[in-house]
Amino acid sequence: MNRSPILTLSNISKRFAAQEVLTDFHLTINDGEFFTILGPSGCGKTTVLRLIAGFEQPNEGQILLNGEDIAGIPAEKRPVNTVFQSYALFPHLTVFDNVAFGLKMAGVDAQNIAVRVADALAIVRLSDFANRKPHQLSGGQKQRVAIARAVVNRPKILLLDESLSALDYKLRQQMQLELKQLQRQLGITFVYVTHDQEEALSMSDRIVVMHNGQAQQVGTPREIYEAPRNLFVAQFIGEINVFDGEITRELGEYQYQALINGVEREIRCNHRFTAGDKVHVMLRPEDLRIDCRPNALERKGFPGIVLERNYTGQTLNSHIRLENGQTVMAHEFFDEDDPDFDYSINQKVGVDWVPGWEHVIPAERAGKS
């Protein structure tokens, strides 16, 4: 899908007192996409949201909405609405009046307000709750009112600040699905802030991973998960095993021979390396294969012993200590045909992977090879 940019943040710096929260921050968000800002707490993701909403002003840089600089426009005049983490419903107003608030401020006439509020409440399936007060609603219902209150204004961009974090697991899953559907239905650009990588992966069209006030990587969930650009992204998104290696020989285009944990292996990657370069060879736990054949000579891969094995229902997760002391994680799906599929602790195994499944990036830390 080809989409045009709706919002561009360029060269943004933001300081609070002496603390630099955002440094030379760039971001482009496309019209109609579900965009997620993902990062650990304190990475500056909420600040980005507040800059877009207009609650904060950048110290440096430009924010362009549809090509127009909105730096000087106060929050109340921006065509942007926010769904707050705490919902921030007005406790003294009914659900109807909460949802109608923005329309009243915009001077929409009463008749139109009634129609649009009814529509918005229908979308979030709260038509029967129009006369309730917020304190008479459950968490999920409050969440929906907050969403209705924002989308009823037909904003250019809807900002969602960790909007699902206060809900319990089941409800959160359901709301994730609803949000995604709602976004498709409305066609509004959603900018969603979260620290939950699973949530980010499952809902977003594109994700920016933030750390220390900077964008680490922007991409589709798949790109972020399968081809993390650096160690931080790799380790923040899901679990990953990092092997330190050194390129020993170039075999062909994007094909190299590398020394990993004392073993020469062939690796493939889309980086250019020369012999002697240090690299991180990364593998998701589900990409590792464990060879548990009893004969040590037959076993393939890096030898190690099973430290821990956890049955999760879907998968068997094991921790394996390799001979160099590194511990790796492997998640394997159950083999229905093998009722004895399991390991015992301290069992000797081999850890291997299908050639080409590895993801290789230049080394960021001094490693042993």
Binding site: P74, A75, M105, P134
Partner: protein, 288 residues
């Protein structure tokens, strides 16, 4: 078992205390109000509703309305001064807010009678204000500030302002600032936010503060006596005069009971309003 005994003991003690020092005196006042006046024995038999009838004499109605007017004016001024002050205090970092509240409470360590005398010195013909005005040549002869309704309201506002500010600060504390951001996000200008969010959500504080200013203002006879001259400006002045000057105890008692009934009525209205607000907003009750 011991705990239960202690609880019973505490409840009984409280009841006895309240009975002896609240209920009995009030019953005595009520009883006095239906007795006959006597200059020497203060109140004597037979029982009569004479004093109660006199309450409705036009001269007292005039005092009542004047008293109501001065108290209302005092309340409004306290609200206008106290509201922004409370807002600022509630928004300040904890250290500063402590300092400000402390400064506001410090004068309370001095008896309010003494502070009222101090105001007298400041507002008098040779007081600070007039000295300054004369010195700078703004006026040629001293302004008559003392012994005017202005001086009375000034004194009442000075003494009662903290009672307005404290409940308001507590209300502002409870005001969630993300609600204001949400309103702003939805397009509300500063005035719209003030009118539609801030005022309704601080209403319990506004009502509580207003009552705590209004009710005492009706009875603060010494402020009116010292700053307003020996006129019956407030209901409290009449009551005091009946007891101490005219020595008509039944009439003073009738007036006291009437004042208590009026105040109880206002408190009841407050209670009703508060309950309505609570039901509306799920806000907490006590604003104090």
């Amino acid at each position: 078992m011991n705990l239960l005994n202690f609880r019973r003991f505490a409840i009984v003690l409280t009841l006895v205390w309240l009975g002896l020092f609240v209920l009995v005196p009030h019953v005595l006042v009520l009883l006095t109000s239906v007795m006959s006046p006597d200059a020497q024995h203060l109140a004597v038999w037979p029982l009569t509703l004479n004093s109660w009838e006199r309450l409705f004499e036009p001269v007292y109605a005039e005092v009542f309305w004047r008293s109501l007017w001065l108290s209302t004016l005092t309340t409004v001024i306290c609200l206008v001064l106290g509201y922004p002050f409370a807002y600022i205090v509630a928004k300040l970092p904890n250290v500063w807010r402590g300092v400000l509240l402390f400064l506001m409470i410090v004068p309370f360590w001095t008896n309010s009678l003494i502070r009222t005398y101090a105001i007298k010195l400041i507002l008098g013909n040779k007081g600070l204000v007039n000295a300054a005005l004369l010195g700078t040549g703004v006026v040629d002869e001293p302004l008559q500030l003392l012994y005017t309704p202005f001086a009375v309201v000034f004194g009442l506002v000075y003494v009662l302002l903290p009672f307005m500010v404290l409940p308001l600060v507590s209300s502002f504390d409870k005001l969630d600032s993300t609600l204001l951001e949400a309103a702003q996000d939805l397009g509300a200008s500063f005035w719209a936010r003030f009118r539609l969010i801030i005022v309704p959500l601080t209403m319990p504080g506004i009502i509580a503060g207003s009552l705590m200013v209004f009710l005492p203002a009706m009875g603060m006879f010494y402020v009116a006596d010292l700053l307003g001259g020996a006129k019956n400006l407030l209901l409290g002045n009449i009551i005091k005069n009946q007891f101490l000057v005219v020595r008509d105890w039944p009439f003073g008692a009738a007036f006291s009971v009437a004042l208590i009934v009026i105040m109880a009525g206002l408190l009841w209205l407050y209670f009703l309003a508060n309950r309505r607000i609570n039901r509306q907003g799920g806000l907490d009750d006590e604003s104090l």
